[in-house]
């Protein structure tokens, strides 16, 4: 049996292998996904994002368990940062998901960002497809611990859950642009701590100012560790799913995301093509030195590099 048939037959070893091949940019992997692409489109993708230590892994674990009780097959992609200095990484999200490891209906994969900014790894979108083909009904994507502007998750998730904790800052933090704008559901984790009500209030006040009145993100207080109110959080996620399905937003968002994905692929390929040529004839080094010496400006250098492709 080839790797495609094995994955369709539910072989975890083959599924894991294909994800590695995609992470390692093996040409063959892309060909396999081309063949299997028509089998994708069945999984619903839930993004879980938030700052480091907010409780993303534990919450993902708890939500996944609830969906397992309903009989759904679950995939989890957990992203952690890769060192920009050594290329190494500690991928430690699994520690919070120990109970799920031996569950036949769960597949968990840890991924290093491998130089990608934005909170995900470059291969995340491909890995989602693999888990979709593998037959997962719901796929959780857990981002790296984010700051204020890592919003790539919104390009891949159908519903984004933003995990916050009490006392992370004043009400100005809640009205800032960036990550606070991409949430479809807010989870205030560790809500047994002081300040949870205040945090909820600040987010609600900020939501009052939204111009989109069709859909208002729910703000749910939970405790992942104590397994408290996870049902309510999951209901809010599924409510957002229903809303999207009902209004056609789901299709619109997916088409927007495909557009972005294809453009990103084009960008990456073009850069690779330019880099290959520029390195071959040492043009990039030459240009950099000329720009440094003020013999050329960066804008002319850019044009020369682009011309490599056009000629």
């Amino acid at each position: 049996m080839n790797i495609e048939d094995k994955i369709l037959a539910g072989d975890k070893i083959a599924c894991a292998r294909l994800i590695s091949m995609l992470e390692n940019n093996e040409k063959e992997a892309e060909e396999i996904l081309k063949k299997l692409y028509e089998k994708t489109g069945n999984a619903y993708v839930i993004g879980v994002t938030g700052s480091p230590g907010a409780g993303k892994s534990t919450l993902t674990d708890k939500m996944a368990k609830k969906l397992r009780e309903k009989g759904f097959k679950i995939g989890i992609l957990a992203i952690d940062p890769t060192s920009p200095f050594t290329g190494g990484a500690i991928l430690g999200d699994r520690i919070r998901m120990t109970d799920l490891i031996l569950d036949e209906g769960v597949f968990i994969r840890s991924m290093g960002t491998r130089g990608n900014l934005g909170g995900l790894s470059k291969a995340t979108s491909s890995a989602i497809k693999v888990l979709d083909i593998f037959g997962c009904d719901y796929i959780f994507i857990e981002t790296v611990g984010v700051g204020q502007s890592e919003i790539d998750i919104v390009k891949m998730a159908d519903t984004v859950v933003m995990v916050l904790t009490p006392n992370m800052g004043d009400d100005i933090q809640a009205i800032k642009a960036g990550t606070m704008e991409i949430a479809d559901v807010f989870a205030i984790n560790k809500s047994d701590l002081d300040g949870a009500d205040k945090t909820k209030f600040e987010i609600e006040m900020n939501l009052d100012l939204n111009e989109n009145t069709d859909f208002r993100p729910k703000v749910i207080k939970v405790s992942a560790l104590k397994n408290k109110d996870i049902d309510i959080l999951l209901d809010a996620v599924l409510e957002h799913k229903d809303y999207q399905m009902r209004t056609g937003n789901f299709e619109k968002r997916r088409i927007d995301n495909v557009k972005q994905e294809v453009l990103d692929l084009v960008k990456e390929n073009l850069i690779n093509l330019i880099m290959k040529k520029a390195v071959e004839n040492d043009l990039l080094n030459k240009l950099a030195k000329e720009v440094y010496a003020r013999k050329k400006d960066p804008y002319t250098a850019k044009e020369e590099l682009i011309n490599l492709l056009l000629n």
């Binding site: 060192s83 500690i90 490891i101 031996l102 968990i108």
Partner: protein, 132 residues
């Protein structure tokens, strides 16, 4: 670009001491490897399942409870049962010299005892990893 070696660092059995495992995890990270750390008190079944889903090249186990003669070979055998034979399996911890030949003969390819330099562990993994 060269791909990073993926290593599962696991603590089988019931002892709760993972300082050593964390030091090793950090050293492997600094050597450019992707380390999946699974946490304490894992069963051999959990370790094997994680190794498969993570598609790791190396399974590195640390044990301080004395159960190494049971648990290490069990992981090797469970992997074999699943048809997975192309991974490097190593172990470490407080392990008596006398037990090492048995562990090696059961498929654990190296045993690192207290005092081992992290450089040696990195070097061993780099030179013995089985998959290209």
């Amino acid at each position: 670009m060269e791909r990073p070696i993926r290593v599962l660092v696991a603590k089988p059995g019931l002892d709760g001491h993972d300082r050593g495992a964390k030091v090793i995890a950090r050293a492997l990270r600094d050597a450019g490897m992707e380390v999946i750390y699974t946490g304490l008190r894992q069963t051999p079944e959990q370790i094997v399942e994680a190794a498969i889903q993570e598609d790791v090249d190396v399974v590195a186990m640390s044990i301080l409870s004395g159960a190494h003669n049971t648990l290490f070979p069990k992981v090797v055998n469970l992997l074999k049962e699943r048809g997975v034979t192309d991974r490097l399996i190593v172990g470490g911890g407080v392990i008596p010299e006398d037990d090492i030949p048995f562990l090696i003969s059961s498929g654990v390819e190296a045993i690192f005892t207290p005092g081992t330099s992290t450089k040696d562990v990195v070097e061993f993994i780099k030179t013995h990893v089985k998959r290209q």
